[in-house]
């Protein structure tokens, strides 16, 4: 939760809201950090198959602390397990899955998302930063739908949803939908468009904390 909001969804509630929108049987790549929570909120009756770009399809939850195999890890380099039906493969195959459009969904964190769907999530461009990109640019270029899961504002109270990204881009016009602590917002041809407000949050509250106009009339249609 950012310091600028006192109500809205918790991280787990955002994760639950994301999971609600994922169809049964989807192949999903969850970014490191807050997107990983989605795996804890799979709706009853649905199965998602998790892909980790370092070479495993059918990734399962973390093993008990101190357990697991140091060579059975996820893209965040943390130990994981595998589910029935899992498969190991090399990096060329893993990114063929990504770049070739075989994954249904990628859920990523964000530094900034622009009204046209541009995403910045790998670098603040600071002079002393060590540049590191990993698979983020491949994911946004290749996966069918890219969801962003994020706090609505930075810790400093700046909007993360902006007219134009000022940080270096991860990809152009790649984000489909944004899930924040305040709202669910689509990226449309006409810019940001409201899908749903978090409980206790009104439209003006979200708009004030967003760096670009939000179309309000989209909500009913998008929720169908």
């Amino acid at each position: 939760m950012t310091s600028a909001t006192t109500t809205g969804w918790t991280r787990d509630q955002i994760a639950q809201r994301v999971a609600h929108d994922i169809p049964n049987g989807s192949y999903v790549n969850l970014g490191i950090g807050i997107p990983e929570l989605v795996a804890h909120h799979v709706p009853a009756g649905r199965t998602f198959i998790y892909h980790t770009e370092n070479g495993l399809l059918g990734m399962g939850p973390s093993p008990a602390a101190g357990q697991g195999d140091p060579e059975l890890i996820n893209a965040g380099k943390r130990r994981v397990t595998m589910m029935p039906g899992a498969a190991f493969f090399d990096q060329a195959t893993s990114f063929a899955m990504i770049r070739g459009g075989h994954l249904d969904l990628s859920v990523l964190g964000a530094l900034q998302v622009a009204a046209n769907g541009d995403l910045a999530n790998w670098s603040t461009g600071a002079d002393d930063a060590i540049p590191a990109v990993g698979g983020a640019m491949d994911l946004v270029a290749g996966v069918k739908r890219v969801f962003v899961m994020t706090t609505h504002m930075t810790k400093e109270g700046e909007p993360k949803l902006v007219q134009y990204c000022t940080y270096p881009l991860t990809g152009r016009a790649v984000v489909t939908r944004i899930y924040s602590d305040l709202a669910v917002i689509d990226v449309t041809a006409r810019g940001f468009a409201l899908v749903e407000l978090a409980p206790g949050i009104n439209f003006d509250f979200v708009q004030e904390r967003t760096g670009a106009p939000i179309i309000q009339s989209h909500a009913l249609e998008a929720r169908r």
Binding site: N24, I49, P84, G85, A86, M97, I98, R99, G100, H102
Partner: protein, 236 residues
């Protein structure tokens, strides 16, 4: 619960539409998904573009599909195997278009299509008739031609074992084009001699991960082209 099983070859190929591009696995008879091809003949789709290394032999399988005049174009590296008469006759009669592609370029174009690589430069075929009309470019003093990825609407392949998630193991040299073709189609259909529950296969030895496969059909005793031909079979 994920279960990609279809109850028959017939139901698995039901939505292949007129004019579709269909990749068909196999190098000669090894890996040729005869039962899926026969189901496609029964189904009736026409005007197909087929991507396959060969053009079939005798009057069964791929040759039978061609003979039924359902295929308007074939993308192929070697359409004149011994025992292949259907394709030569159609080709000489001007009833089928041929795009001839070197075997390695064909494999790589299919892989590229499945891997989101739109095009690549290869030294293969430079200076030959198969590079005519293609862009070429010199890298490091050597000429290369630009080749484009291929995608299809459907892929038909044969596996030895599949699980309900669509993970596939193959049998020996029947593997050939199947792993690439599985990646390059909107809908990938596999016939497998054995179908097991997810979790029954060692994750280390899976050749085609299930993400590339949409439909699994159990065909316990698949026919072989050579055996059918020796028996004088024709389809339908």
């Amino acid at each position: 619960m994920i279960d990609k099983r279809f109850d028959s070859a017939r139901s698995a190929v039901a939505d292949i539409f007129d004019g579709a591009t269909v990749m068909i696995g196999g190098f000669g008879e090894a890996g040729s998904p005869i039962e899926l091809i026969h189901a496609l003949i029964d189904q009736g789709a026409k005007g197909l573009t087929v991507v396959s290394n060969n053009s079939g032999t005798g009057l069964v399988g791929l040759a039978a599909l061609l003979r039924a005049e359902r295929v308007s174009k074939i993308v192929c590296s070697f359409p004149k195997t011994a025992g292949s008469t259907v394709f030569p006759d159609l080709y000489r009669a001007g009833k089928i278009e041929l795009e001839l592609v070197p075997q390695g370029t064909l494999a790589e174009r299919i892989r590229a299509g499945g891997a989101g690589i739109v095009a690549f430069y290869t030294p293969t075929a430079v200076g030959t008739p198969l590079a005519q009309g293609k862009e070429s470019r010199v890298f490091g003093e050597r000429e290369h031609v630009l080749e484009h990825g291929i995608r299809a609407d459907f892929t038909l392949i044969k596996g030895r074992t599949a699980d309900t998630h669509g993970n596939i193991l193959y049998h020996r040299t029947a593997r050939n084009f199947a792993p690439m073709m599985a990646t390059a189609a909107t809908v990938t259909i596999v016939q497998a001699a054995e179908v097991v529950e997810a979790g029954a296969l060692d994750p280390e030895i899976i050749v085609t991960p299930g993400i590339f496969v949409d439909r699994v059909v159990h065909v316990p005793s698949p026919a072989l082209e050579s055996a059918l031909n020796e028996a004088g079979a024709s389809y339908p």
